[in-house]
């Protein structure tokens, strides 16, 4: 840390500094004497597992929470009682995980919400649209300002949030886990924008738990754990292993388990033949999964990876094609039939599709298997049997807290994802289809999830997973299908699976631009 302090003079004056900030909730310390500053023209990455205090830090910085102890300086001026509006006026802008956009209003209306340009007493809509369009163009974002926000994808909404933040006074921009729900291409665009803002003299505070983003974006990296400031490094001077150790507080053995490969000559557990969806998001997709292998589906946004996973489970209406599973042929998959045939799908959207948040761990894990006779003879729940089964699963997955009567809403993202996985483990199945198995999940839980995917394969089942996490695709898959514009562009085996190949094929074979994703390194 002293070494870093020595570098301080090399940087510009801090736009915002937190000094010895302590924040307690009901006697529990969420932030414990954390100091941190962001200077003009630098990107500071804050790294930490869930519960490390990252969000509290952001909320203190933008004035949504008042610290119990410590001081905040903005451009060298001490600020005593901060609130979000005042913070914005001082040039502290934030794009949080939960967006603050009004879905039914247009992009332009959202950009100027609360500070609409006026002409006498009438809103000057023409000016708002013009200025909104200019702001979009400046950032190279191609979004029609008249579109109601609800029609935009999450990535586009995030862009609108960023543009909105940038319409304020220049200064600091806080991005709280901005890539949690973005795909590779969207992430690349976001990184371009961050790099550009940096060159324009913005100070960026970038909150994440993704290791690879530190290298790509950061000038400095701050590691938080359990509400404490653990370390600060110049990104150039620190290794990934070092950061992981600081983050988890214990050495983490290799994140990814050894690769598995298919049991030779065994017939596929799942075969998809020439699948085309009614909405044309997937076109003529054929693939197969053999017992004991982990098959990845990679691709850019809207390339259809997620949709293939959903289609296998009957969540997307098919126009043509069929699925072969358990020796039978399914023309019109519906999810109850697929579950019956031994295929389970684990959705990407935990809050939207995977979990009943207000219900308990036990209820969520057992929901799918509850119909079995041993768990509900004569339609009446055998509580003891359910309890025992769920207990065994949560112990195996190390779900914390272990109390299975606690609602899942109270769990961290990683533990919620384990609950989703737990539901799949309630009975043996032949095919497990994951959609973004580790989105928004901390490193510890990630490692556990990979480990259990590995275990599933060893038991002879097959896994198909769609992921926009390049690292995950490359390190986990025994085979990879790379998708481009709804079609399977190629299939990669063994040593062919590497960053360059996946990226270049996902941009389409012809326009293959090797290392596009690496360009921002």
């Amino acid at each position: 840390m002293d070494a870093v302090a020595g570098h301080l003079d090399e940087r510009g004056a801090p736009i915002v500094s937190l000094v010895e900030i302590t924040k307690r909730f009901e006697g529990v310390v969420a932030l414990d004497g954390v100091s941190l500053d962001v200077a003009a023209g630098e990107v500071v990455v804050v790294l930490g597992e869930n519960g490390a205090g990252k969000s509290t830090l952001v909320n203190v910085m933008i004035g949504a929470l008042q610290p119990n102890e410590g001081t905040i300086y903005v451009r060298g001026q001490r600020v005593s009682h901060q609130d979000p509006a005042a913070a914005r006026r001082q040039g502290i802008n934030a794009v949080l995980q939960d967006f603050s956009l009004a879905p039914s209003l247009s992009v332009a209306d959202n950009l100027f919400l609360g500070r609409e340009p006026m002409r006498l007493f009438i809103r000057d809509r023409a000016r708002a649209r013009r200025e909104g369009r200019e702001a979009m163009q400046m950032l190279g974002v191609n979004i029609d300002v008249d579109t109601p926000v609800l029609f935009l994808s999450r990535a586009e909404q995030q862009m609108v949030e960023i543009v909105k933040a940038l319409c304020g006074r220049p200064g600091a921009l806080i991005l709280d886990e901005p890539t949690a729900t973005l795909t590779g291409e969207e992430t690349r665009r976001l990184f371009e924008i961050v790099t550009r803002l940096k060159s324009e003299g913005w100070g960026v505070l970038y909150i994440t738990h993704r290791m690879e983003e530190v290298q790509r974006l950061g000038d400095r990296v701050v590691v938080l754990r359990d509400g404490r400031h653990i370390s600060t490094y110049r990104v150039a001077n620190v290794s990934e292993t070092h950061l992981i150790q600081d983050m988890v507080g214990r050495p983490l053995s290799a994140l990814y388990p050894a690769k598995v490969s298919a049991t030779t000559n065994a017939p596929p557990v799942l075969r998809v033949d020439n699948l085309t969806s009614k909405d044309k998001k997937i076109l003529g997709v054929s693939l197969e999964v053999r017992p004991g292998e982990i098959v990845g589906i990679a691709g850019l946004v809207r390339s259809g990876c997620s949709e293939v996973a959903r289609a296998c489970f009957g969540l997307i209406e098919l126009d043509q094609g069929f699925i072969e599973i358990a020796g039978g042929r399914v023309e019109k998959p519906d999810l109850r039939k697929m579950l019956h045939l031994g295929l389970i799908y684990l959705p990407q959207d935990r809050r939207g599709e995977a979990l009943s948040l207000s219900r308990t761990i036990e209820e969520n894990v057992s929901l799918e298997v509850l119909g079995e006779w041993r768990y509900s003879p004569f339609g009446l729940v055998n509580h003891a049997a359910v309890h025992e089964a769920v207990d065994a699963i949560t112990e195996r997955l190390d779900v914390r807290p272990r109390n299975i009567h606690q609602p899942v809403v109270s769990l961290s993202g990683g533990n919620q994802q384990k609950v989703v996985l737990g539901r799949a483990l309630t009975r043996p199945r032949s095919v497990y289809v994951f959609d973004e198995p580790t989105a928004g999940v901390d490193v510890g839980a990630r490692q556990a999830i990979y480990h259990h995917m590995h275990e599933i394969c060893k038991s002879g089942a097959g896994i198909l997973f769609a992921s926009s996490d390049l690292e995950e695709i490359v390190h986990l898959s025994s085979r990879v299908y790379v998708m481009h514009e709804g079609r399977i562009q190629t299939e990669l085996h063994g040593d062919e699976i590497n960053d360059e190949a996946v990226v270049s094929y996902s941009f389409g074979r012809d326009s293959a631009n090797r290392g596009t994703l690496r360009a921002s390194n």
């Binding site: 995977a354 209820e363 109270s410 961290s412």
Partner: protein, 354 residues
């Protein structure tokens, strides 16, 4: 740890304790105590034997309707057609009973049975109509049941020509209407097994788990393989049948088929369920809580009666209570969240993990 400092502080402990009770049960126990004290002070007959019996009689009907309503709330829906259902049941079953009894004056038992069967059929049909609207056609339950409430009311008035239906068997009125056995009204004896049945459905049956999951997140329940439409349909049928039975019992109580019977039950049932812990956002509710909510609503209405405040005042009070219940529900959700937040933070602290 700083955390332990505050844990030893008795004031903080007391505050935490009260908040935990509030988080678990809501504001209802507190309110009930206040209500009883106020009404008893205002009129010492309030807790008297006669008044308690009257209240028990009233409570039976509301309990059935409220439990049905609570099932629907748990599954994330609404039923605004409860009042119309009661009126329709009353008119239909009374008409059938009067007709049978008119033809066979000696066959009071058969007439009552025919009336009960009619009530059950009406409940089934009403439930299917509502359920199909919500679960199959996918229309918002608020709109579906508001529309069917109007339609059922219209049918009731068409059948009855706006007149009450008399000529019911005397046995029906004296036994089902006002008879009691071992201190419990006959209507109560009819209701008791139904309440037990509903309890088993909600707390022990697979179906109960399904509707809690659906109310909490219907999309997730679907992905987990739950037949969402079917379960939701069943919920509307259960509610409507329970309500129709209430309507049948109520008909005996008022000794005639009434075309405007039970209008107040829609709001009262929602109030009782919500103040008893059911959430308007779905996924939460309990039999015990709802019954306590029914007690509250009955106490309120009856106590105000004893204070010689008419039904107009009751309506005002009930409206205010409902608003209060919804606000309290939101506060409680926050209290629950705060409780877990605290635990979550202390869990992430390795020192307390032990």
């Amino acid at each position: 740890m700083q955390a332990t400092d505050s844990r030893n502080n008795p004031v903080v402990q007391l505050g935490d304790g009260l908040r935990n009770i509030f988080a678990k049960t809501g504001a209802l126990p507190f309110l009930l105590v206040i209500l009883v004290v106020v009404f008893q002070l205002a009129n010492s007959r309030f807790l008297g034997r006669q008044n308690m019996e009257d209240m028990l009689h009233e409570g039976v009907f509301l309990a059935l309707a409220s439990l049905g309503q609570m099932f629907i709330l748990v599954s994330g829906g609404f039923d605004l057609s409860i009042g119309s259902n009661i009126a329709l049941t009353s008119i239909s079953s009374a008409s059938v009973m009067a007709a049978v009894y008119g033809v066979h004056p000696g066959a009071a038992g058969q007439a009552i049975a025919a009336g009960a069967a009619t009530a059950a059929v009406v409940g089934l049909v009403v439930g299917l109509v509502n359920g199909v609207g919500v679960a199959v056609l996918g229309v918002n339950p608020f709109i579906v049941t508001l529309a069917t409430a109007s339609a059922f009311q219209g049918i009731t008035l068409l059948i009855s020509q706006g007149q009450e239906v008399g000529g019911l068997p005397n046995a029906f009125i004296t036994s089902v209407g006002s008879g009691s056995w071992l201190g419990l009204p006959i209507a109560g004896w009819v209701t008791l097994p139904l309440v037990l049945g509903l309890y088993v459905l909600l707390a022990w049956a697979r179906y109960g788990r399904y509707i809690f999951a659906i109310g909490s997140n219907a999309a997730a329940a679907r992905v987990a393989g739950v037949h969402v439409g079917l379960q939701v349909l069943a919920t509307y049928v259960i509610c409507a049948v329970a309500t129709a039975i209430a309507g049948f019992l109520l008909t005996a109580r008022v000794s005639a088929g009434e075309p405007l019977l039970g209008a107040e039950y829609t709001l009262q049932s929602i109030t009782a369920a919500v103040i008893g812990g059911a959430s308007l956002r779905g996924g939460r509710g309990s039999i015990g809580g709802t019954l306590l909510g029914v007690v509250f609503v009955i106490f309120l209405a009856d106590g105000m009666d004893l204070m010689r405040l008419g039904s107009n005042h009751e309506m005002i009070a009930l409206g205010l209570v409902l608003i209060f219940a919804v606000v309290a529900d939101r506060q409680r959700a926050k209290a629950v969240a705060a409780g877990y937040q605290k635990r979550l933070i202390s869990q992430s602290d390795p020192a307390t993990e032990g």
